[in-house]
């Protein structure tokens, strides 16, 4: 318990809008250990990015508000910090990598200056030392010819190179944790492979913990140790990547996996989509949020939120199917429902 670098407990985040209050995150709990990569997976609107923003203390207030819950980072409570205390953590102990490297960088500032901006603020260094640090960071993230590149502007870099710069900024203060929000989504596959490799390599070198937010199950399998599957603001399943891919426990996770074609498959099989679309979070269902799209939904699913069921190795899922009183999945299949 004490070894968790990051602990998120029962986090709830709401946003006020003209249409009412959106309950974007509705009781999220997970943890990240030292040197571990945890992937938060889910579709748009499931609350994965809002969770990341909450960890960084970046929820804009108003309209957003952390209604309930606790975030503990390295023994300190982020949710109870003052703005000034947060500043000391953000950027130095927690680094952030954003999705779109073009908008994350300042187009009017030299790349080198941006990389060491945070470093200079926290360390008392001369100009030459700062420049040397920037060059060292560029070399670390694999940018060729760093002595020349350090004085260039973002528009002189390609998309993949810009993402490397963003990673260099996140790492400049040797943080303990890096939060990467869809870091490869804006990149082409061959460049994505380069960036994922870089993240893996940096993690080993610097003993980093990484939280990677993604919608791509391929990326999860490729880079993460554990995964947190989110749906409609709720964690529906969590566990080691091996367990989740080998024996997923939640119907939503089954659905996600079956709706993906396999590039290494030999036969053409029809895709099995998840019918319908996610619920409206202005007025979330009181039961399981996936019930309306679930083939196995029972009466109780719409009435009451299921509780957490524990499996081996910290593998957890919330689903009524795992309740001792529920019918076995085989029985449901026999009764005419489609197999998961």
């Amino acid at each position: 318990m004490t070894d968790h670098l990051l602990q998120v407990e029962n986090l709830r985040v709401h946003f006020k809008t003209y249409g009412g209050e959106v309950q974007a995150v509705r009781g999220v709990t997970f943890h990240v250990d030292r040197g571990e990569t945890v992937a938060v997976v889910g579709e748009s609107g499931c609350g994965k990015s809002v969770t990341a923003q909450a960890i960084m203390g970046l929820i804009p207030n108003p309209p957003g508000r952390i209604v309930d819950g606790k975030i503990t980072f390295d023994g300190k409570s982020i949710t109870e910090m003052s703005k000034k205390e947060l500043l000391a953590v953000r950027g130095s102990e927690i680094g952030m990598v954003f999705q779109d490297p073009m908008t994350a960088l300042n187009p009017t500032m030299r790349v080198g200056t941006q990389i060491v901006e945070g470093f200079v603020r926290t360390h008392n260094v001369s100009k030459e030392e700062a420049r040397k640090k920037a060059i060292e960071m560029l070399r670390l993230v694999g940018i060729p010819d760093p002595e020349k590149r350090v004085d260039q502007y973002p528009h002189e870099f390609s998309g993949g190179m810009r993402q490397r710069v963003v990673i260099a900024i996140a790492l400049a203060n040797t943080p303990k944790l890096v939060i990467a929000d869809e870091p490869t989504t804006a990149l082409d596959v061959t460049i994505q492979a380069q960036i994922l490799d870089l993240l893996r390599e940096l993690q080993e070198k610097q003993q980093l913990s990484i939280v990677i937010i993604t919608h791509d199950l391929g990326v999860v399998a490729e880079i993460a140790h554990r995964a947190v599957v989110m749906y409609a603001g709720v964690v529906v399943e969590t566990g080691s990547v091996e367990d989740i891919f080998a024996s997923p426990k939640h119907p939503y996770t089954w659905g996600l996996m079956r709706s993906l074609p396999r590039i290494d498959g030999t036969e053409k099989e029809r895709l099995v989509p998840i019918v319908g679309s996610p619920p409206d979070l202005f007025d979330p269902p009181k039961g399981c949020p996936f019930a309306a799209r679930c083939q196995f939904a029972m009466e109780i699913c719409e009435q009451q939120m299921p509780s957490v069921t524990d499996f081996e190795n910290g593998h957890q899922a919330i689903c009524w199917l795992h309740d001792s009183r529920a019918p076995k999945i085989d029985e449901l299949v026999a009764a005419g429902r489609q197999a998961g």
Binding site: E43, S44, T190, Q192, L217, A221, L256, L260, I263, R270
Partner: protein, 315 residues
């Protein structure tokens, strides 16, 4: 059995981008699409796949070469033939948000093609309702506006609009890239069903190789304005010949942590198409490049049954 519906012969599309610089977005591409098949077109951003699709449907005039649709040159036809061409060939766009007019009702959006081609006299509303049901929406949706729909539903409206004029050939430019995974499968299944029921022919442009492999009969791989390889989708995956195809396939993350793979990680980035390398355009990133690759442009050649490749390794 396989009758060519579309023949693309040495098509080029160049753009003048000022200062006397020419951007060769598509630079000499040749292939055919048979009736009833789905040709997948893959490549990274800037490889010219969308420009090629847009040139084929005559949204762009071509710089050189010809596109033959049912034997007629799509860029030369006039009058009645041109009107028929614009009925027979339709397009589905990537972003269903941007490709539907926010001020028009779904009814007017879908019926626009019917009105233009004079196909709907008397039965306009019925026809639109029929199309809505065909794509899995309800007829009650006809009076609504695009903003009232989710992304997947909007893409269905875009598909209904394309189908309204009863086309034979549909160019789908990244039709599922803007959608969530669970919704992508819904739209792909819909496209497959429609193809079966109506004998449609598709050009499916995308960068998601797994989905392209799933939906396509054959796949063409583009790099920097050139077609580098084309084969049946199974063969392309099982036996990729071009070093670029090999690298591309090995970069795709597989959603299975137990699969260990030898990755070919390409060094560097895509060169600018305004200043493409001499000889083979891929040579600057190719792990197998030789001096010959810089000197000569590799020929586009059939090396196996229906397996085409442009690479000096196979000449």
């Amino acid at each position: 059995m396989s009758e060519a519906l579309v023949e693309v012969k040495n098509v080029k599309k160049h753009f003048e981008i000022g200062n006397g610089v020419t951007l060769k977005a598509v630079d000499g591409v040749t292939f055919t699409i048979n009736r009833g098949e789905t040709l997948g077109l893959v490549g990274e951003s800037g490889c010219g796949k969308s420009t090629l699709g847009r040139t084929m449907i005559r949204l762009y005039e071509n710089t050189d070469g010809e596109v033959l649709f049912k034997g007629k040159n799509a860029h030369q036809i006039k009058g009645k033939d041109a009107a028929q061409f614009h009925r027979d060939v339709q397009m589905i766009f990537q972003d269903p948000q941007a490709s539907l007019n926010p001020r028009m009702t779904v009814m007017d959006i879908i019926a626009e093609g019917l009105d233009i081609h004079g196909l709907s006299r008397g039965a306009r509303a019925d026809r639109v309702k029929e199309l809505l049901e065909l794509v899995g929406l309800s007829k009650a949706h006809a009076s609504r506006f695009p903003h009232e729909f989710s992304g997947g539903q909007r893409q269905r409206i875009g598909i209904a609009r394309a189908l309204a004029v009863e086309p034979e050939f549909i160019i789908a430019d990244e039709p599922i890239s803007a959608l969530d995974v669970s919704i992508q499968a819904q739209v792909v299944n819909l496209l497959e069903d429609l193809q079966q029921d109506r004998g449609l022919t598709y050009l499916f442009i995308a960068h998601d190789l797994s989905m392209v492999k799933h939906i396509s009969t054959r796949i063409g791989v583009m790099y920097l304005g050139k077609m580098v390889e084309m084969a049946s989708s199974f063969e392309l995956y099982a036996e990729p010949l071009h070093p670029y195809t090999q690298a591309l396939l090995s970069s795709i993350p597989i959603p299975d942590p137990t699969v260990a793979r030898e990755r070919i990680i390409l060094q560097g980035d895509l060169p600018s198409p305004a200043n493409a390398p001499s000889g083979c355009v891929f040579r600057t990133r190719c792990p197998k490049a030789t001096p010959q690759c810089a000197a000569e442009v590799p020929e586009w050649k059939e090396v196996g049954s229906n397996h085409w490749v442009a690479c000096h390794l196979y000449q």
